[in-house]
Amino acid sequence: MQPAMGLTTRAAVLTALMVLVAFGAIALALSTFSKYRDAVGFLADRQAQVLVTTSRLLQQSEGMVASTAMLMLAEDHLSRRQAMFEIADRKEWIGRLVEDLAELRDADEHFAPIYLARDRLVERLEVLDELVSQRINLREANAQQALPDVLTLARLAQVEAQIAEVIRTTRTLSMDLSVAVGYHLAAARQESQRRVDALAEETRHSEALLKASGLGVLLVVLATVAFIHHSVVGRVTRLEQALRRERPLPEEISTGGHDEIARMARTIHRYVDRINHNEQRILTMNRELDFLASHDGLTRLHNRRHFDQTVTQHAETLQAQGYCAAMVDIDHFKQVNDRHGHAAGDRVIAHVAGLLRGGLPDNALLARYGGEEFAVVLPGMAPAAALECLERIRRRVAQTPLLVEDAQIPVTVSIGLAPQLPSGEVEHCLRAADESLYRAKRSGRNRLVLRAQRAGDAMGERA
């Protein structure tokens, strides 16, 4: 396995990423809802409690005024005590409401003014209670007397004056209490508003985050699609296109990367490579076979069949431009074979073929015609030039012995040369050259015999 990330791993990573982003978005949404719920719960529960508590507080502090009036107007002790009970109840409830408020608002620094105002007010009301009590007693005492008692009346007037004075102070203190409580009502309202604003802001923030998360999910999905298209579909398509050609080229198969597709591409690449290599070998072998069909394996010269075909094919051209034909035969070849072996004989044949090839012009037709016999057609060459060329080759052969295992094998050739016959046919000309070769052999070998023009040549008879 490659250490690099495979397709599966990458797909898994992308899927995981997508799941992660999706879950992130869900978690965000849930947390937003949870926060929203908490905030709404807080507003509905605690802030509502704060508002209710402060409202009740305000109601009770204002109720103190009513209770004060009730106390002031009390005509008997029953009404007076009832008023004082009510005042005590209000005092006690205000105390508990303030405690509740302090607990609800997590603050206590501003509650002292309420307690202070309340206690001072109640203190004054207790004084008022005492004065009212005196007034009731004095009035009763007065009523029981037949004639108004001056002293009682004076005392009553004094008490009334004191009551008026106390009432004035209680009015101020009631105001102080209402103001102190009102401050908290306003503060509670403001806090509620702040909470609502903060909640709205947080909701907006969460909304933006949620949208971004949604976009993130979309991007990851798109990335996944692009990845699959690029890494899987695209590469498989290119691979398929490369393989669809009649002769797939390995260089067109992209083998980059380390994933499963790359490994498959490399396998296909190797396979295509091997197929192409084998095909090349078959072609080479075919070419070899083609060569051997028209050439002689030993001398790499054309063979007799190919020579005859070529001559026949180009007969008209040859006749038109004129030519000479020659037959070349290695002298005493049987003795070479016998003396030096067939391998040496083969080497002699190849040696002579090489010299012939080298000495003849490029347009000469040359073939191994028999065992140690070569046929030559020299197109467009006059008999004199042909004679000179072949004589040069004969001399060259005679002067170049073959070195075989430290032994020099002297090689000579006999050549029969025939110019174009009046009948013009190359076959006749070659036959005439063969006759000349025969004469050359008979004349002692290592020589060239040119066939002379004869009277019967025109009829094309046998020379």
Partner: protein, 488 residues
């Protein structure tokens, strides 16, 4: 995101269920916050009101008509000589903690009730029980020292509720009973109860009960005005009574309780040990005028510590007619002129309202009165337990509790050999006619002795939401059985 929507749907359903179950909740105002939640350890009726028949149950129960009905005991019979009470118990009942209710736990409860060390304030009511015998897994035999025809009734009182040995010691804080509701706990000053799923009888219609205890009259009237209270069993003396009776969402119901409202006198405080002074007080109070604290009820005035609903009742209301003149004469006789007394009040509305009249009446005969308001806890401690008071104004809501005058340890500090002997004879009386005759004698004795200033029977004017059904009209015992309530 799909899962999320499922979540929302579930939340929605929960919200719906929440709304649905909220209507099965009832908020009951009891005014006096109980000192603790074990009705076997406190004379405070408010503990009984919240706990009895809701959390705790007895072997028998007293129904809304004051009749004895089977409860944890399905049946009972008295032996021929009246010296044994044999009870058959309901099987397959569990306490809220899963412990089974058996004859063993019943015997434990009764033995605990009888144990002087355990501190049950109503122990004396069960003094006839000599021995408790477990006669079978669900069979109990009570051996009595004398026949006691009232015993099945008394076993239905809150003092005789069944508890389990495992939880008895902690019932004051974490009550564990066999009733239809278990205690969820305190939230701020509210006591929360919820239906016990393993209840041995049909599930109640009300699944959650919340008891609130608002001592402050203004605060309570405010709560009623805001509709925060579903049921207040004792709305008789509310100043806002006329306004509330006009509201269509509230119903006022007239009823009587077994509570005698009295000005209790501390006989250990001179000159209250003087019969003339006590009689002067009885003459000084104008009972009829006092009844004006009830805007829409006319409870019977009483002259002794006895309910007019009882067949043995003797009319003694006019034994001490309102006469400031006679009162002054008696005080002069006792040389108690210029007397100064403190009237110590529990935080009940009827006590506060009545005290205003009592104070004026006493002042009218030359007694200087100081009113002292206490919290319920303070009252229980100072007045009831430590007997540190001169006068107090309270309702004795326990039914048929004449025996308290035969007790040395009661907060009146009243000691009378005559009455004690009388009470013994009452308890031993076999014949009903004899009993009734003796009870009449006992009433007369208390009236003659002017042991306390007997005022009137406490009205039980429940105020409750118009769509709440099943509210008790009378209060034969202090109890608010949530089990019997339902929303119409």
């Amino acid at each position: 995101m799909k899962r999320h929507w499922y979540g929302l749907v579930v939340l929605g359903l929960l919200a719906f269920v929440g709304v649905a179950s909220a209507s099965e909740e009832v908020r009951v105002e009891l005014q006096l916050r109980p000192p603790h939640l074990d009705p076997t350890l406190t004379p405070s009726a408010t503990t009984a009101e919240a706990m009895h028949l809701n959390v705790f149950q007895g072997l028998t129960r007293i129904d809304r008509e004051g009749q004895v009905q089977p409860a944890l005991a399905s049946h009972w019979r008295t032996s021929g000589d009246g010296r044994q009470l044999i009870l058959g118990l309901q099987p397959d009942i569990t306490f809220h903690d899963g412990q089974p209710f058996t004859a063993e736990s019943a015997a434990f409860s009764l033995e605990r009730l009888l144990d002087p060390e355990a501190g049950n304030p109503q122990r004396h009511l069960f003094s006839a029980i000599e021995r408790v015998e477990v006669a079978g897994p669900y069979r109990l035999r009570l051996h009595l020292s004398r026949p006691d025809a009232l015993l099945p009734f008394r076993l239905g009182l809150s003092a005789a509720v069944m508890v389990h040995p495992y939880s008895a010691a902690t019932n004051a804080e974490r009550p564990v009973g066999t009733g239809p509701y278990r205690v969820d706990g305190w939230r701020r000053d509210e006591l929360h109860l919820s239906a016990y799923p393993g209840y041995w009888q049909a599930s109640p219609a009300i699944s959650r009960g919340i008891f609130t205890f608002t001592a402050n009259r203004l605060e309570m009237e405010n709560a009623l005005a805001e509709g925060l209270i579903d049921l207040y069993p004792d709305g008789s003396t509310l100043l806002s009574h006329p306004q509330l009776s006009l509201r269509s969402d509230y119903v006022m119901q007239d009823g009587l309780s077994e509570g005698q409202v009295i000005v209790a006198l501390n006989h250990a405080r001179p000159p209250l040990d003087d019969l003339r002074v006590r009689r002067a007080l009885s003459h000084a109070v104008n009972r009829q005028a006092l009844l004006s604290i009830y805007p829409s009820a006319e409870p019977p005035v009483i002259g002794s510590h006895f309910s007019p609903l009882h067949p043995a009742y003797v009319e003694l209301a006019e034994r001490y007619p309102h006469s400031p003149k006679r009162a002054r004469e008696l005080l002069a006789e006792a040389q108690a002129e210029g007397l100064e007394l403190t009237l110590t009040l529990p935080p009940t509305i009827y006590a506060e309202r009545a005290s205003l009249f009592i104070a004026s009446d006493l002042e009218a005969v030359g007694i200087r009165v100081r009113l002292e308001r206490l919290s319920w806890q303070e009252w229980l401690e100072r007045v009831f337990t430590n007997r540190d008071y001169a006068l107090t104004l309270v309702a004795h809501v326990e039914p048929f509790d004449l025996d308290i005058y035969a007790r040395d340890d009661y907060y009146f500090n009243y000691r009378s050999e005559t009455f004690r002997a009388l009470w013994e004879r009452i308890e031993a009386a076999q014949e009903e006619s004899e009993r009734h005759a003796l009870l009449g004698e006992a009433q007369r004795h208390l009236a003659e002795e002017a042991v306390n200033v007997f005022l009137f029977m406490k009205p039980q004017q429940a105020i409750y939401k118009a769509n709440l059904g099943g509210v008790w009209q009378n209060a034969p015992i202090p109890a608010v059985p949530l089990e019997e309530l339902y929303w119409k």
